[in-house]
């Protein structure tokens, strides 16, 4: 028996290899010469790896522009503009998170090489998901992403609720992965393949007389994804994990998981199951209504900033799903645009929360933010801008992100859905504003100035500038997102 090794187009998998390589190198070196590898070395490694990925992305973009999208590793990995952009967003988020984490690790006095190793490995998993063209590869990416995160959530061993959150995330995440794997198996049973292109081809050229198996499989896949992006009713883990995890990890998780999971979800629903649009749309409809409304409503009653942001991110997940629901090229572009603009903002927001959290990462009540903008105008104003961006105020990227998914949904006939989502945004406005109000409150409680280390300040500044510049001038990003999804054939 001969085994044929599939040809590999190395440029396509280079970002994943760089991240894995960096993680492995750090792991090896740190176990051989422990004392030599300081936090600084680890941070520099992550930063260099991320920059390298961004450079590779530029080459990939040119390669796709020249010779079109291509598949490699036996059609399991895709290289197209969509994956290039999603990968770049992940690299950017990792870069920002690493800088925030660097300052945090120093503040907490933790040895942080493991943090960077885990973060790099996790991100490699997320990148794999954005490029996956096979259910098994998606599963692989999902597991790599998740296992790193389980550990990262528990990274601060001194905090009991960090461990508790990790256990909760691990148990529920394990279930979700199992459900996803079962779904993949059922889809294989129904269509004879796990390859997304083949599944799509099979469904396009055959009529299933008894589609029950496919529906069950697709439904289970959807549940797996809904868990990862924390769509209601599969969101119960998210507030506890967001609260329990060390804050930089929460920001990291909120950004890269969304990018990876939504990229893969788009590929599964639009590329592979595009023919079943009429079947999965009603399910998504219900998910979106629940996710947007419940996410926004439960956020209103929170007093803890991190829990509030957890529910806010649930609300955002509902909006992103709106773009997927549209099931059109425009919807896919809107989903990508939303994720592109959301990731830097959420990392920067959690960077501020990290700073205010103080030593021990304890100060997360909304009362700790009272008068922050009075004491430290720049920091307070930055947080206000980031919150307004999440709210969807004009002149920030948040407005155009919401605008583009709503436009896609209305264009696809989802006027009612768009109205419901927007009304949930009005509910969400309540808690973003209450927070902003606290920032500018006069009756400040006794509070110390918040230390702003240079790197974290840089990340926050970048997030603010990003959201304002592209909020005034969204053209380039919108064109990029549109360009990246032209070849997406639903």
């Amino acid at each position: 028996m001969t085994v044929t090794i599939p040809s590999v187009h190395y440029l396509a998998v280079l970002p994943v290899l760089i991240y894995f390589g960096a993680a492995l190198a750090l792991l090896l070196v740190t176990s051989l010469v422990r004392s030599k590898v300081t936090n600084n070395v680890a941070t520099v490694t992550t930063v260099v790896a991320s920059l390298a990925v961004l450079v590779v992305n530029a080459f990939q973009w040119r390669c796709v522009a020249r010779s079109g999208p291509s598949m490699t590793v036996a059609h399991a990995i895709v290289l197209d503009d969509f994956s290039v952009i999603a990968t770049a967003v992940i690299a950017l988020s990792v870069l920002m998170s690493a800088l925030v984490a660097h300052d945090w690790l120093r503040r907490e006095g933790l040895a942080g090489v493991e943090f960077h190793i885990l973060a790099l490995a996790s991100s490699a998993g997320a990148m794999l998901m954005t490029q996956a063209n096979d259910l098994i590869v998606i599963f692989l990416g999902l597991e790599i992403l998740s296992i790193g995160l389980y550990v990262l959530v528990a990274f601060d061993r001194r905090r009991a609720n960090s461990t508790e959150a990790s256990l909760k995330y691990f148990l529920l995440g394990g279930f979700a992965s199992a459900i996803f794997a079962y779904g993949a198996a059922l889809v294989y049973g129904a269509t004879g393949s796990t390859n997304l292109t083949r599944v799509s081809y099979f469904l396009g050229s055959n009529v299933l007389t008894r589609p029950g198996l496919l529906y069950a499989g697709g439904g289970l896949l959807l549940v797996g994804f809904a868990f990862k992006v924390a769509a209601v009713p599969f969101h119960l883990w998210s507030p506890d994990v967001y609260e329990g995890a060390p804050t930089p990890v929460t920001g990291f998780m909120a950004s890269i998981v969304k990018v990876g999971a939504f990229a893969a979800l788009v590929r599964v629903l639009i590329s592979a199951l595009g023919t079943q649009l009429d079947t999965w749309r009603p399910i998504l409809f219900v998910l979106i209504v629940l996710t947007t409304v419940v996410g926004a409503s439960l956020a209103v009653v929170q007093r803890n900033a991190k829990r509030m942001l957890a529910y806010s991110s649930i609300n955002h997940a509902g909006f992103i799903l709106l773009g997927v629901w549209a099931g059109t090229v425009k919807g896919t572009a809107a989903t990508l645009f939303y994720v592109m603009t959301y990731a830097p903002v959420v990392v920067a927001t959690f960077a501020v929360v990290t700073l205010v959290g103080g030593v021990g990462d304890e100060h997360h009540s909304i009362d700790h933010y009272r008068g922050l903008a009075r004491r430290q105008p720049w920091l307070g104003a930055s947080l206000a801008v980031l919150l307004l961006s999440q709210l969807g105020a004009p002149l920030t990227t948040g407005f155009f992100a919401k605008f583009s998914v709503l436009a896609a949904a209305v264009d696809a006939g989802g006027t009612a859905l768009a109205v419901i989502a927007l009304l949930s945004a009005a509910i969400a406005a309540f808690f973003y504003l209450r927070w902003t109000l606290a920032l500018y409150a006069d009756d400040e409680i006794e509070a110390n100035r918040v230390e702003v280390p240079r790197l974290t300040g840089l990340v926050i500044g970048f997030g603010v500038v990003f959201t304002i510049v592209f909020g005034i001038w969204p053209g380039p990003l919108a064109t990029l997102a549109q360009h990246a999804t032209v070849f997406f054939t639903p």
Binding site: F403, V410, L422, A425, L437, P474
Partner: protein, 500 residues
């Protein structure tokens, strides 16, 4: 056609002023000077624009200063400005309001931020008035919320947090259907022609073909947002608290200016884009307008404080404007557009005077004030002029516009006009009664010791009084500029060219 640079300057000048005001925060009083200088320049610019305005541009209807630049094709985003007679004087009002608010209602506490927010608000409001693109209008319309929110929540009264939140959430919720309606309209327009790019240009969208049912739904979606902003009964419930809790400058901006965004939007966008819906929606909105007039007047009679009194009186006045806008009569619509300006000026006067009283007595509750006429005769005289204009005394500005509205509406919808006339009588009742309680009688204690209007306060009121008298006696130049645009709009919306 004049250059659109004039309009861009109107948007940009206050932005520059806001940045400058924020930059000079270290030196005492510098922001105040920057704010005043910027608003004077802005007002001068608007006057130049009024003088230059030409309503006979071939192929551009009555729009002047027009130009369009597409910013992002996939999003349908464009910078598109133009000005016609309907928006012309609202732009002047915006510049006037910010000047008088900064001058007459100076906020010493954290002044640089206050000035910056006020100037930002002016820029965004003027941006909405000159937008010739529905999406651009929406963006500016939403943007006005942010400065208003900060002005109320930071410089307002005791319940400022609650008021700011209520205001924001109410308006934000109201604009949800508006955004979806705009998107729906944009795509309906795009899908009607092959390979058409996505556009939200007003002139393109007004040619969209639609069924009566679609038009009604879209009209409702638009009207909700504008009814909240105006406010139109029953969506007014945010306004009394917000007007009362906002600082004087904020109250001026909110009720003199931002409320006009609602009525302007109703006329320009709801009526202008969906004439098919009028046959169904006209009776409903006329009825709501009349209810608003009666309800506002009735509550104004019993309300315990002066700011709320003006808030409810504004509800009634906005009812008159809605009546004119929805009447389908050219005369009444001209009257409504004029009343938008006149009511703005009158409200600026009211809130400035209430601000003066509050500065002296620390209260604007009717029960705390008595016999102010004795110690402060000039203040009382100024109040009288503004009050009489608001009542609609012939010879003052309020009369001209209310008269045009009622006579025009009577021709098309007689019964609504008849009932609305009660509102004119009622306004005399509640305003004179309030005047009697506050200014007449014997002043005792703190009331007897208040100072009369100072020199600066008298000067601030001069533009208000001049405008009230001049527009009451000689409104012709203003009407001449408003009429052609209104005629165009009314003819566009009337079935088979019937106009009255």
């Amino acid at each position: 056609m004049h250059s659109s640079l004039w309009l861009s300057a109107l948007i940009v000048v206050p932005l520059i002023g806001a940045v400058l005001a924020a930059l000079v925060r270290k030196s005492e009083g510098a922001a105040y000077v920057v704010g005043l200088a910027t608003s004077v320049v802005e007002l001068a610019l608007t006057v130049v624009v009024v003088v230059l305005y030409n309503n006979h541009i071939p192929g551009a209807q009555t729009f002047d200063f027009a130009s369009r630049h597409v910013l992002s094709a996939p999003l349908g985003l464009a910078y598109d400005v133009a000005l016609d007679g309907i928006a012309l004087f609202l732009v002047v009002l915006a510049a006037l309001a910010v000047l008088l608010a900064l001058w007459g209602a100076r906020e010493k506490n954290r002044e640089p931020s206050f000035v910056a927010w006020m100037l930002l608000l002016t820029s965004f409001t003027i941006g909405s008035f000159v937008s010739h693109d529905v999406l651009e209008f929406f963006i500016f319309f939403e943007l006005t919320l942010i400065p208003s929110y900060f002005i109320i929540s930071q410089w307002g009264g005791v319940q400022r947090s609650k008021a700011a939140l209520k205001f924001f959430i109410y308006t934000f919720t109201g604009s949800a259907p508006l955004l979806v309606g705009i998107l729906y309209l944009g795509f309906a327009h795009q899908n009607q022609s092959l390979n058409a790019p996505l556009t939200f240009s007003y002139s393109a969208l007004s040619a969209t073909a639609m069924t009566h049912g679609t038009a009604v739904w879209l009209f409702v979606a638009f009207a909700i947002a504008f009814a909240v902003k105006s406010p139109i009964w029953p969506l007014h419930t945010w306004s009394p608290l917000t007007y009362a809790e906002a600082p004087t400058g904020g109250s001026i901006e909110l009720s003199a200016l931002l409320a006009k965004l609602g009525s302007y939007g109703l006329l320009r966008f709801a009526v202008g884009l969906f004439p098919l819906a009028l046959v169904t929606m006209r009776p409903i909105l006329l009825t709501l307008a009349v209810i608003g007039i009666l309800y506002g007047s009735a509550v104004a009679c019993v309300t315990p404080d002066l700011k709320r009194l003006v808030a409810f009186s504004s509800l009634a006045q906005m009812g008159f404007i809605t009546l004119g806008v929805m009447s389908g009569s050219k005369i009444a619509t001209v009257g409504a557009v004029l009343l938008m300006f006149n009511h703005g000026v009158i409200t600026i006067g009211f809130f400035l005077l209430i601000g003066f009283i509050e500065r002296r007595r620390g209260s604007y509750l009717v029960k705390d004030l008595v016999g102010l006429q004795g110690p402060a005769p000039v203040l009382a005289a100024l109040f009288t002029v503004v009050m009489l204009a608001s009542i609609g005394l012939p010879g003052l500005s309020g009369f001209v516009s209310e008269y045009l509205i009622l006579i025009g509406t009577f021709a098309t919808h007689a019964w609504w006009a008849v009932v609305a006339t009660i509102g004119v009588v009622a306004s005399a009742l509640y305003l004179l009664w309030a005047y009697q309680r506050v200014f007449h009688g014997r002043a005792e204690g703190a009331n007897a010791e208040i100072a009369d209007a100072s020199g600066a306060e008298r000067w601030v009121m001069v533009p208000v009084v001049v405008l009230i008298v001049v527009l009451g006696v000689f409104p012709r130049p203003v009407l001449d500029r408003i009429s052609p645009s209104v005629q165009q709009l009314v003819e566009h919306t009337a079935p088979s060219g019937v106009t009255k």
